[in-house]
Symmetry: C2
Subunit: 200 residues, 2 copies
């Protein structure tokens, strides 16, 4: 027979805390809230973590780890620079679309993250794919400001996802506009040909 109560590991707790922090933010989640979803008492959390901030930081680290590897897949596309851009946008959009908790935490960290956390996020998660985008930018447009181009690519993808909750209240907003394929296609056309690439 299995034991009636299964002891929780640190990572179990973190995995259950991540959705809470994503939905309500650091100040909006209490230790009791976390304990509730884990199925233990709040005091037991202090066996695993010295305090709430430490739990939060480790939850962030876990939510962001492996992301860099996920992004690396988006860079394996080969072919002409244009094909590679299209492939990258497609894979990156799908990836971000499928992991709403990661996206929400990213949004929250941009608002509330201190220097240390933003540095970690930039260097451990986004550095590699960002450099790949910059290299692609340099190939497509020699001499361009690669940083601005890479950021613009990310902007188009991520803001279309970020604004999903308000889209239906804006003129012309339909449910289909939140689909990763629709977004990726639109973004790719816009990047490659400007607005005139967006004709139907």
């Amino acid at each position: 027979m299995t034991r009636p109560v299964k002891p929780k590991s640190k990572t179990d707790i973190l995995d259950l805390a991540i959705p809470l922090f994503a939905k309500s933010g650091y100040a909006g989640v209490s230790m009791r809230d976390i304990a509730n979803v884990v199925g233990i008492k709040a005091a037991s959390l202090y066996h695993h973590f010295p305090d709430k901030q430490s739990l939060y930081l480790q939850a962030m680290a876990r939510a962001f780890e492996d992301k860099a590897q996920g992004f690396a897949e988006a860079l394996t596309v080969t072919g002409t620079p244009k094909k590679r851009l299209a492939g990258f946008v497609q894979v990156f959009t799908t990836l971000m679309s499928k992991d709403p908790y990661f996206r929400l935490l990213l949004q929250r960290e941009l608002l509330d993250g201190d220097e240390q956390r933003l540095k970690l996020l930039a260097r451990e998660v986004f550095r590699e794919p960002f450099i790949a985008m910059e290299e692609l930018a340099e190939e497509l447009v020699p001499g361009c400001d690669t940083h601005m181009v890479a950021m613009s690519i990310a902007s188009l993808i991520l803001y279309h996802l970020e604004t999903a909750p308000i889209r239906r209240y804006l003129p012309g907003g339909k449910a289909k506009h939140n689909k990763p394929d629709v977004i990726a296609d639109h973004v790719t056309r816009l990047l490659l040909n400007g607005l005139k690439g967006c004709s139907q």
Copy 2:
């Protein structure tokens, strides 16, 4: 002689609360925090507002009112469609850049806003400029998905501002990249000619 203590009006309180909510969010600001910056005791706030949520909602309403009018200025530019796009991007970028509290509140509402608040934001603040962008899109690219194009214009401007705190930790990120003129110029070129419009 002036009175030693100047009674505070509702709008005085709201104007002082707005920066707090922008910086720390609803859950991150207490009635005592607000009372502190106003220079009164927390209990006195309940003379002006029935509860914290009501204060917050009125602060949002005030932070967002007049914004639609501000945006209307961005639409007064005349000339060819391309000139008008360039003008709109320039004015909109400068406007959003100069009002960081509004931008932060917008970011927070996209994360935490309920249906009612998002509806208000969409209809009272962004509807007009959004429609203007859509009309411009239709002129520039007849038959395009005007909603997606308008959202992409906003994406490029707003995400460059939203990512300002992390930019310096990303490859190639410089302080100049956060300047409204640099962003507006980059975004305009990208929109009009795609990536190849971004050559230096």
